[in-house]
């Protein structure tokens, strides 16, 4: 909750914030960094050849990466330093040998990394603190000193916090300038201690794989990228890894040379489609119908992995025909659990509790002697003595698919020929291991949860989820150990730890509770509702014509309802205007949808807009004070790629910051 505090109290709190910020200057020295000082050399020009030879010399080599870029590729680079300038960079030979028969990781890095030495000294680079002169966006600036800049910002923050509450100060880190290394942790801790409103970055860029969360209760479903090589059938679906996963793409082209089939599902003949063995071009947004018809083919031709489906999926769970709900223990006992479900055991010809669900004590799906029926209708007697008919989820699924999603029917929706749908379904099912690469792009469609769930279904039916070289690969996010504590983000108390040790796994609802507590305490606010409340987006989202009517109301009406019921937290709370925006290098006026609406409705409410950035971005142009950030080669940090790669990069500072 927002803190109303006195000026003196605020100073104390922000003093603590500054102390912690200093953590960002942790120097994590790399063991192999050559650190000799170069004696100035006289350049000898003995003809044209030496001009070229002299060009390819350096004083020292620093181990670097692009540490706070919004990139999930964490590539190790060597920066060649000459006369105190990061002159050029080249991918470092820094990885371990290949694992498990896959090709090695060399050389990782793309054209953006290869030109950062140039970009770091580009005309858009910020070199010293700037204060706006004249109207916002007018492009007129005055150079000010760091002391003046920091005092001006701090004074204004104190004024706002005292007058309107600290919640009127809004912090947005976006995803541009976070590396989840010590720098990010320090920044989050500062924000945490200042108790200001905090725009949640993940929802802000639409990266949340909702269908995975709905299906599995979690979103992490990607392994290290060398595992792509182990696949026998790679389905690239709603992603374009040739563009987005440059250092990893070779594992796909090489898997193809190992014998894997590469299927690309995309409406356009894109840069990845051209490398495919089979390119399927559905109509835009018809992917769920295409996927469901592949499921129909797999089921009707019995291409599914029965053992896997019986054990690992909820397809054998029993559903009541009278109300369409799972049959639960509470149907049989007055105080029965509502999260313990049933299977029909073919061995015993009766219902038995399904192992491993949330309501069960033991966290294992192992069936033991149970042989769950995959199909069938059964009669069971409930607590009140009444008989109800139940059937398996699989029976319901088969009936629905046969009715609505035969390849012929899906062809009408998707434009893909039934023979192509059948062929793709058979190839996926026949592969020793098959994976679907969907990536974050798959999260940025309207109703994308339906796409994700279809993909998860295909991987479950064929027994691929959880297999090396198999399964849906969409999202992954792990932080390095200790990050939470350093950033003051999640505080796991000693007794919670002890409890976790005792019960073996945290119940899902406990984790949810912990995360909700954390986001409430830190005044986290998801971007779109925030824009809706504070930035004039009610003018756009509220429009009925922008809505397909499927939820039965417009997005605006849905948001109003959620706000009213407290389902969605928005800070500052509706009724309190944001007074200050504090950006840590994202570029919201480029990333937010319809930024002109924000400029028209949000900007006038703000007394101060501050951006810490290494360049003059679109957003920087519309700020009041700009603080120059160090470039990637100008600071030490840690860069890692969640669990896409089996290592992290510890980056040195190669040169002093410009300016």
């Amino acid at each position: 909750m927002s803190t109303n505090i006195t000026r003196r109290g605020f100073l104390k709190a922000s003093g603590a914030g500054v102390a912690v910020l200093a953590l960002s200057s942790f120097h994590l020295s790399h063991g192999a960094a050559p650190a000799y000082a170069a004696a100035p050399k006289a350049v000898e020009y003995q003809g044209w050849k030496d001009v070229f030879r002299q060009k390819w010399t350096w004083d020292s080599v620093a181990h670097c990466s692009h540490t706070r870029a919004n990139c999930i590729s964490a590539c190790a680079w060597n920066v060649y330093v000459k006369d105190g300038i990061a002159w050029r960079e080249e991918q470092a030979q820094a990885y371990n040998e290949a694992r498990g028969g896959a090709p090695d990781f060399f050389p990782r890095g793309c054209q953006k990394g290869a030109s950062y030495s140039d970009l770091m000294a580009a005309p858009t680079r910020l070199r010293y603190p700037l204060q706006r002169v004249g109207e916002r966006g007018g492009g007129k600036w005055k150079r000010i000193g760091w002391d003046e800049a920091l005092s001006t910002i701090a004074d204004k923050m104190i004024d706002i916090a005292v007058e309107h509450g600290s919640e009127a100060i809004v912090y947005d880190q976006g995803t541009t300038n976070i590396d989840f290394g010590p720098g990010t942790a320090a920044e989050l801790r500062m924000v945490h201690l200042m108790r200001v409103s905090h725009i949640e970055d993940w929802a802000g860029v639409g990266d949340m794989p909702m269908g995975c969360v709905q299906t599995w209760g979690m979103f992490n479903c990607e392994g290290t990228t060398d595992d792509w090589f182990n696949s026998d059938c790679i389905v690239v679906w709603s992603g374009n890894p040739v563009y987005t996963r440059i250092p990893e793409m070779h594992f796909m082209t090489e898997a193809r040379y190992k014998g894997a089939k590469l299927i690309v599902i995309a409406p356009d003949l894109n840069a990845t489609s051209i490398h495919a063995d089979l390119w399927i071009n559905p109509r835009v947004e018809s992917d769920p119908a295409l996927g469901l018809s592949m499921a129909q083919v797999m089921i009707s031709e019995d291409l599914i992995d029965h053992d896997y489906v019986r054990e690992q999926s909820d397809l054998p769970f029993l559903v009541r025909k009278d109300n369409g709900r799972f049959l639960r223990e509470s149907d049989f006992k007055r105080k029965g659990r509502d999260n313990a479900f049933y299977l029909w055991d073919e061995n015993k010809s009766k219902v038995v509790l399904a192992p491993g669900t949330e309501g069960m004590r033991k966290a294992s799906l192992a069936l033991g002697s149970i042989k769950p029926a995959l199909e069938g209708s059964f009669s069971v007697k409930l607590a009140d003595g009444s008989l109800v008919e139940v059937e398996t989820v699989f029976s319901v699924l088969r009936r629905d698919l046969d009715r609505d999603y035969t390849p012929e029917k899906a062809a009408e929706i998707s434009g893909v020929h039934p023979a192509v749908i059948r062929r793709a379904a058979r190839e996926i099912a026949a592969a020793g291991s098959a994976m679907i690469f969907a990536s974050w792009g798959a999260c940025k469609h309207y109703h994308s949860d339906l796409m994700h769930r279809t993909m998860a279904l295909l991987m479950a039916l064929t027994g691929n989820q959880g297999k090396s070289g198999g399964g849906l690969r969409m999202a992954a996010w792990w932080q390095i150990s200790g990050f939470e504590q350093l950033g003051g983000v999640y505080e796991i108390k000693w007794w919670q730890n002890a409890l976790l040790k005792f019960i073996g796994r945290p119940p899902v609802r406990e984790i949810e509770k912990l995360i909700t507590q954390h986001s409430d305490a830190d005044m986290f606010t998801p971007l779109m509702p925030w824009l809706y409340v504070h930035a004039g987006y009610d003018k756009t989202m509220g429009k009925a014509e922008y809505n397909d009517g499927i939820p039965g109301m417009s997005t605006g009406e849905a948001l109003d309802k959620s706000l009213e019921r407290g389902w969605v937290p928005v800070y500052p709370r509706p009724g309190v205007d944001p007074k200050m925006l504090f950006f840590s290098a994202p570029n919201p006026l480029r990333r937010w949808p319809t930024p002109q609406v924000a400029r028209e409705h949000l900007w006038p409410k703000l007394d101060l807009i501050v951006n810490v950035n290494f360049r003059m971005s679109t957003t920087s142009r519309w700020c009041d004070i700009l603080l120059p950030a160090a470039g990637y080669y100008e600071k030490a940090s840690i860069k890692y790629a969640q669990n896409y790669l089996p290592y992290l990069v510890i980056a040195d500072k190669a040169v002093e910051p410009l300016g």
Partner: protein, 353 residues
């Protein structure tokens, strides 16, 4: 006319077009390392990747002439500045700092804004859904029969004796530009400020220290290979000489280039009713033949046969070479890590000329 001294050994490049992802890391690595953006080199890209079919860079270079016909040197034409394009600068100061942020917009203030090094990226040919394209990385082909050498009136271009790199002696070069007219690949640039021709130097300072050229060593798609053609242990030798799957671009130019390509596969075409045309070729075979000559048919047939073998569970030495389990094997004898070089103990000047 220049005289050609043949080399003892020939260094060659291979690009696997089925692994090339068109990311331009090679182009950028080369640009940052060599031509840079010094006055006179702003528009120079010694390494480029273009989308084929396309007009490329310089625009429509394939029809500018050069090379040999019936054993005779052909002088084609020089590309114009407009056909090269690029070299852009923008009015950053005016928009970002000049006080006109609300009414001035970024625009090109120098350079040519109607073409550039990768202007027609991903356009390709054909009609949707049977459109097609592939990426084609290009650099100086360090030809065995370089037309530029013969065309130079000042004998300023030569082939290095021990690796066959073709280099322009910038001291002797008088900037006549005959080499630019003679080069059929249009891979020689003109530095108007200095009055000399400039082009890919084969990263000779790196090679002289045992380090692979930047375009190869920095290729994240692992699509580039380098090595001596006669080094039987090199991937280049295996792909060009042993398997004949790596073939030159436009062999009819007659200059015997030493840059080779594994030709592109593509997903099958789609019939008007939406079903697959199992026997068709998405990239028209006549187009591929116009690029790589008749050898493209055997190269593609070999590649497909080996892929089929692999999918039947058999082994394939060819595909193992292309997979490149050990990345260093792409670099031939040039596998040294440049970060290991300490210039205090290593002579800046290479031992070789």
């Amino acid at each position: 006319m220049g005289t050609l001294t043949q080399s003892q050994r020939q260094l060659a490049w291979v690009f696997d077009l089925n692994k090339c992802i068109g990311c331009q890391t090679c182009s950028v690595a080369c640009k940052v390392l060599w031509p840079g953006e010094d006055p006179g080199t702003e528009t120079m890209w010694w390494m480029t990747v273009n989308t084929q079919p396309g007009r490329g860079m310089p625009r429509d270079w394939e029809s500018m002439g050069g090379g040999y016909a019936d054993g005779k040197l052909q002088l084609g034409r020089r590309p114009s500045a407009e056909e090269i394009g690029g070299g852009w600068d923008f009015n950053y100061d005016e928009v970002l700092r000049g006080g006109r942020g609300r009414d001035a917009y970024l625009h090109v203030t120098s350079g040519n804004s109607t073409w550039g090094m990768n202007w027609d990226e991903d356009e390709g040919g054909g009609r949707y859904p049977n459109s097609y394209f592939f990426y084609l990385p290009r650099l100086c082909a360090h030809c065995t029969r370089p037309a530029c050498v013969e065309a130079c009136p000042h004998d300023a271009i030569f082939k290095r004796e021990d690796d066959g790199l073709v280099l322009i002696n910038e001291t002797s070069c008088r900037g006549d530009g005959a080499c630019i007219e003679a080069c059929p690949y249009k891979k020689i640039d003109f530095n108007a400020l200095r009055g000399v021709s400039q082009k890919c130097i084969g990263c000779f300072p790196r090679i002289d220290h045992g380090v692979a050229p930047a375009c190869v060593r920095q290729c994240p798609g692992r699509a580039a290979f380098v090595g001596f053609l006669d080094d039987e242990s090199s991937a280049v030798h295996k792909l060009v000489r042993q398997w004949n799957v790596a073939i030159p671009l436009h062999p009819e130019f007659g200059v015997e280039p030493n840059v080779y390509y594994v030709p592109p596969l593509a997903p099958g075409p789609i019939k008007p009713d939406g079903s697959l045309d199992e026997n068709g070729s998405r990239i028209p075979l006549e187009y591929l033949e116009s690029q790589f000559g008749a050898a493209v048919h055997t190269a593609l047939a070999t590649l497909k046969a080996e892929l089929d073998k692999r999918r039947r569970g058999e082994s394939s030495q060819l595909l193992d070479t292309l997979i490149l389990y050990q990345w260093k094997e792409a670099l031939g004898h040039l596998e040294r890590d440049p970060a290991d070089i300490d210039w205090r103990s290593e002579a800046t000047k290479g031992g070789r000329s």
